[in-house]
């Protein structure tokens, strides 16, 4: 079995009485990219600073190649530290030195290379990071993205054995972010260094990681492969993996299935005296195909439009609604029992949707994909499970509106 290069054993660290790490066990293996993820302020950067020795643990042990760092002599600790480099979250560039001097500093201070050799190495690193032409500028004269790359160049210039990256992609545009992540992975593969990353860029960063550790509430919640992470059913872990979905949910304003079911159970007591209710279901047919053909943002816009228009039509009534699954919106309407009322509502909704941009074929000039939204309803009762009522409503579903790439056509409710 592979021996960890760096190992945390029951490490505890507190600041002003607040415990940031509590008995943390963590293993970092040589030649791998290990990513620490977690919410802001959970101790990810502290973990990196403990690894490099900028901070010392209050309790527990940090082992490097099986040797307790706390028991190392000065010489041994110095030799260990020489193999590390660190890229700070806010770059920590020397603002009174030029870009060139910043990158060259570790070589000038710690090696006996000739000025010519130093220049060659610095220029080569600058070229690989697309930094040529700014050698004589000061950090304050270049953009945030460039500062990040200069910090990266400085971290890699001495070819360290272990590189610690504290949020290397924070503040970068998507193109630069991808280039930094790919540069880390390419350099890591070329030089074989061990990389430890702290990042919020989930899921992007998972593609370049061999191992992932999630820190939550001062402890390691998960440690293992990115694949294993995907298999996890812990809510906090899923929150991280599906942070993009969470953003969509926040923008659309639709509660997810769990929240919808909780709201339904809460409401059942309140509705008990006021009779039955209607369960209305809107289904975007073939949602994954829409995502594939017109793209994520196009599919998201369809969902957003549907939710927003439905909300506007039922806003004068009491209602509970949410996203039952990826393509289904469920709306519960207490006190609505007559079928004509619901059909009238769906008719108005169909008319309204037909006028929306997402159902206009001329909006899809390059890629168009025909799709439809169907609607169904059923009478609900407190004794039934929500899932059964939704299935019943789906079974009676009819087309509400359809996008035809030739022209948008009306469904049967209109």
């Amino acid at each position: 079995m592979l021996t960890p290069l760096i190992e945390f054993r029951k490490v505890t660290k507190s600041f002003d009485g607040k415990r940031v790490l509590d008995g943390v066990d963590l293993a970092i293996y040589p030649g791998e990219v290990t990513t620490l993820i977690g919410k802001s302020g959970v101790g990810k950067s502290v973990t990196l600073k403990l690894i490099i020795g900028l901070l010392l643990p209050d309790r527990g042990h940090i082992l490097y190649e099986g040797r307790d760092v706390g028991n190392m002599g000065r010489g041994e600790r110095k030799r260990m530290r020489e193999r590390f480099n660190f890229m700070f979250q806010h770059n920590a560039l020397f603002d009174s030195l030029t870009v060139y001097e910043n990158i060259a500093l570790p070589l000038e201070e710690k090696t006996r290379l000739s000025p010519r050799d130093i220049e060659d190495r610095v220029r080569s690193k600058m070229e690989s990071l697309d930094l040529l032409g700014i050698e004589y500028k000061y950090p304050s004269q270049i953009s945030g993205g460039m500062q990040k790359r200069v910090a990266l160049a400085r971290a890699l210039i001495s070819d360290p054995q272990v590189v610690l990256f504290d949020e290397p992609t924070t503040g970068l545009d998507p193109v630069r972010k991808n280039s930094v992540l790919s540069m880390i992975t390419h350099n890591q593969k070329n030089f074989g260094f061990t990389a430890v990353l702290v990042s919020h860029d989930v899921p992007d960063v998972l593609y370049i990681s061999n191992r992932v550790a999630i820190i939550e509430q001062s402890r390691i919640l998960y440690e293992g492969s990115p694949h294993g992470l995907e298999q996890s059913d812990q809510p906090v872990i899923r929150e991280f993996i599906y942070s993009l979905e969470a953003l969509k949910k926040d923008i659309v304003g639709l509660p997810d299935r769990g929240e919808l079911e909780k709201a339904y159970l809460r409401a059942v007591d309140a509705w008990h005296t006021s009779g039955s209710f209607a369960v209305l279901v809107l289904i975007i047919q073939d949602y994954q195909a829409i995502e594939r053909s017109i793209g994520d943002f196009g599919a998201f816009e369809v969902l957003d439009t549907l939710a927003e228009r439905l909300r506007s039509h039922v806003r004068t009534w009491r209602y509970i609604y949410g996203r039952f699954d990826c393509n289904t919106i469920v709306c519960l309407l207490p006190g609505v029992t007559e079928e004509p009322v619901i059909r009238g509502l769906l008719g108005k909704l169909a008319q309204d949707l037909k006028a929306q941009e997402v159902f206009q074929p001329n909006q899809y000039t390059t890629y168009c994909h025909e799709f439809s939204v169907s609607a169904g309803f059923t009478a609900g009762s407190e004794s039934q499970r929500l899932e059964d009522m939704v299935q019943a409503a789906k079974a009676g579903g009819e087309t509400l509106v359809r996008l035809s790439c030739a022209q948008a056509s009306r469904g049967s409710y209109a």
Partner: protein, 275 residues
């Protein structure tokens, strides 16, 4: 317990509390002084670690020394002139205006030269040192040095010690010369003291012991100023009164105030030993 009881209860404890406060602050002061001394000792020893930081030391000599020349010239000339003026009107009452040259030279060489030079450098370079190192601390630049296995005390403090040891005596010497010229301008050129008597009295009254005393003072002040200013900046993150920009501002203020206070205290101590 009534308010009265509580009040008397508080009163019964106040001498103890006061004693505890004094004890706490004394321990804190001694600890701080020990930390400053260790900081100085590390910086001093690291000067001799190879390779020597000649270029960085020269850069600091330029910053602390060369860039302070103008302000030293300005302060020196007017200090000498006002000393000549005041001295003349005091001495003329006793008919002793002939000793003006000696009086101006002794005052400047023994006291005013080293002290005012030190205070001027504190204001111009000392505050800048504290602020620069403080900003490096709060922006993690010092941590970056540690992660690159570069000793920050050697990198930031040792060249400044070297520069202070070179700059303070030289600037003091410059202050002395320009101050004497100032005294000459007001005493001889403006008030009509005989030029020959001015210089011959100066030659008679000033000896090498006075000049060396001023030199030792300048050296001592240099070490005190650079240590206090760099220490304040280097440990800005440990201040409890303020962090970030506020911490740097407080560190700069403390650096200037403490340096001035310690320069004046040291001046008295050294003078009492040297006289």
């Amino acid at each position: 317990m009534t308010w009265r009881d509580s009040h008397s209860f508080e009163n019964s404890h106040s001498p103890l509390q006061a004693l505890a406060w004094v004890g706490r602050n004394t321990v804190q002061l001694i600890r701080e002084m020990g930390a400053v001394f260790l900081f100085f000792l590390q910086g001093l020893l690291l000067i001799f670690q190879l390779p020597f930081q000649i270029r960085k030391s020269l850069q600091q000599v330029y910053f602390i020394g060369v860039k302070s020349i103008f302000v030293i010239l300005l302060v020196g000339i007017f200090t000498g002139m006002v000393l000549g003026l005041q001295g003349y009107y005091t001495l003329v009452k006793f008919g002793s205006e002939g000793v003006l040259g000696g009086m101006v030279a002794l005052s400047i060489i023994r006291e005013l030269g080293p002290v005012l030079t030190a205070i001027m450098i504190i204001g111009r370079a000392g505050s800048a040192m504290a602020a620069e190192i403080g900003i490096m601390r709060i922006s993690e630049q010092i941590d970056a040095l540690v992660t690159m296995d570069i000793n920050p005390i050697r990198y930031l403090f040792s060249p400044r010690i070297v520069a202070s040891v070179i700059s303070f005596p030289l600037l003091t010497a410059l202050f002395n010369v320009i101050g004497i010229i100032g005294g000459y301008i007001s005493g001889v050129l403006l008030l009509g003291v005989n030029s020959g008597i001015f210089f011959s009295r100066m030659e008679n009254l000033v000896n090498i012991h006075d000049i060396m005393g001023g030199f030792y003072k300048a050296l001592g002040f240099g070490l005190i100023v650079v240590t206090i200013c760099c220490y304040q900046g280097f440990y800005v993150h440990t201040r409890r009164e303020g962090f970030g920009a506020k911490g740097v501002s407080l560190a700069t203020t403390s650096a200037v105030v403490l340096s001035c206070v310690f320069v004046l205290i040291t001046d008295y101590v050294l003078t009492s030993f040297l006289l």
